[in-house]
């Protein structure tokens, strides 16, 4: 490759690298229970991006209807671990179980202790979540408080809070507060299985595996011989045992041996 071609390739790669972040932000909301309005999920995603940029703490939210008996804190810790970002803060809301938990990344703990987070959840999140079932307002109020705490600890400021104050019912302007009605009750939606099982993908994988194992167990070891193989064995047996030493015939001809082998193969389990 010539120097010119390499330079062009390098320039293209740099351009691509510069454009990649602009292609879209990674969604911060995994609303499996579908209890949040779509624009609110987008709002949280963009606010989480600002938090990551200004404070170094991205926020992630997961909503589910049920966890199938799993402990919510364990689930949140696991979600944080899977996200592989030790700066992140993950909030898990389990609507049908009326439980929630926050997992704080290792790097963020100096800014936000679990006790402080617990107290914030109790003050701003618990009532709208459990009593009023206004899930959107609960999340927005908590996120704003979380951000305020982190800003004061980090000595930095996020100027643009977007529509979050409105969702949290804290809008100062005369503009009507962002609608909360869609969050008042859950809907099934497309991710209904996701929302009621701890890990739908794993459950589906296990179900497929069971199906395959059962099929293979039913078919056996697949040692069934084809008709051609049976005919060949019959013919070889005829060649060995079907003639007298003096060249005379001994009972059946080759077809008789082949049919005989075919009949016997059933008893040996060589064919179905």
């Amino acid at each position: 490759m010539s120097v010119k071609a390499r330079a062009v390739l390098l320039a293209l790669l740099m351009l691509l690298a510069a454009w990649l972040p602009a292609l879209g932000e990674t969604p911060a909301v995994d609303d499996q229970a579908e209890v949040l309005p779509l624009d609110m999920a987008e709002e949280i995603t963009s606010y989480s991006a600002r938090m990551a940029q200004e404070l170094g703490v991205p926020f992630r939210l997961i909503t589910k209807h049920f966890l199938g008996g799993k402990n919510v804190q364990q689930y949140a810790d696991q979600a944080l671990e899977i996200g592989a970002d030790s700066r992140a803060v993950v909030l898990v809301m389990v609507i049908g179980e009326e439980t929630y938990a926050l997992a704080i990344g290792e790097q963020t703990r100096p800014l936000l202790s679990p006790e402080r987070a617990e107290s914030m959840l109790g003050n701003t999140f618990h009532e709208p979540f459990v009593v009023e079932r206004d899930y959107g307002r609960a999340v927005a109020a908590f996120l704003l408080d979380l951000s305020a705490t982190l800003q004061s600890r980090a000595g930095k400021r996020i100027a643009d809070e977007g529509k979050l104050p409105s969702y949290a019912g804290r809008a100062i302007s005369a503009a009507p507060a962002a609608t909360a009605s869609p969050t008042a009750y859950p809907t099934g939606g497309t991710s209904w299985l996701d929302s009621i099982l701890e890990d739908k993908t794993q459950s589906e994988h296990e179900a497929r595996e069971y199906e395959t194992d059962v099929r293979e167990a039913q078919e056996g070891s697949g040692r069934n011989l084809s008709l051609f193989q049976i005919a060949l064995i019959g013919f070889i047996l005829f060649k060995i045992f079907g003639r007298k030493k003096n060249g005379g015939k001994n009972g059946c001809g080759p077809l008789g041996w082949i049919f005989g082998t075919w009949g016997l193969s059933k008893f040996f389990g060589w064919r179905k």
């Binding site: 209807h65 049920f66 199938g68 008996g69 609507i95 049908g96 179980e97 079932r133 009750y185 859950p186 809907t187 099934g188 209904w192 299985l193 929302s195 009621i196 099982l197 701890e198 459950s203 296990e206 179900a207 595996e209 069971y210 199906e211 194992d213 059962v214 099929r215 293979e216 167990a217 039913q218 056996g220 070891s221 040692r223 059933k266 008893f267 040996f268 389990g269 060589w270």
Partner: protein, 183 residues
């Protein structure tokens, strides 16, 4: 004369070797098939975890509207304990069948409960989400499929010469469980 005297033991040795080869082949083949049936059973036990999850979800909703001593609540709790424990195969699978029956009855009881009817969210769970989840998990954990595979294996073990030879050499039939409606 000498040649024919040697031919007889050689022929017997050949027959013995043939029988040995046949026996080893039959044993190995059927033993592998038996392992495959056991693998299917182990996969079924993994899938039954989903049933346990669904049972727990149902108990969560029931806990908000019914007393902990309610007969059906207790029955579902027992079914779940059996399903998630390390009981015998027939015990586990009959617990699965009982969970289907008890779960359905508990959902019906919840649906008619005034407190559920007054709660839009829980009514949605009881009417839509939980029955769908139970149905899906029952489809996944269809134990009759395992029974079918185990029966096919048992038929090969008892109905073929290879199977009978393997059976004589110690390969055991697969365990079956009683299906609903069977005597």
């Amino acid at each position: 004369m000498k040649a024919s005297a040697r031919a007889v033991p050689a022929f017997l040795a050949m027959l013995l070797l043939l029988a040995l080869a046949f026996g080893i082949g039959a044993y190995r083949g059927m033993y592998n098939e038996r392992l495959q049936v056991e693998l299917a059973l182990s996969s079924l036990q993994d899938v039954l975890e989903t049933r346990v999850e669904m049972g727990n979800n149902l108990l969560t909703v029931a806990g908000r509207h019914l007393d902990g001593d309610d007969t059906l609540v207790k029955a579902v709790r027992e079914d779940i304990a059996l399903l998630s424990g390390e009981g015998s195969l027939p015990g586990i699978l009959s617990a699965n069948q009982r969970l289907a029956r008890d779960g359905k009855a508990l959902l019906a009881q919840l649906e008619s409960s005034p407190s559920v009817r007054a709660d839009e969210r829980d009514l949605f769970y009881v009417n839509a989400l939980l029955p769908r989840g139970f149905e899906q998990s029952a489809q996944w954990a269809d134990a009759a499929q395992y029974n079918q595979a185990a029966r096919a294996y048992n038929a090969r073990l008892k109905g073929t010469i290879t199977g009978l030879a393997a059976s004589l050499l110690g390969v055991e039939p697969a365990a079956l469980f009683e299906e609903a409606g069977s005597p």
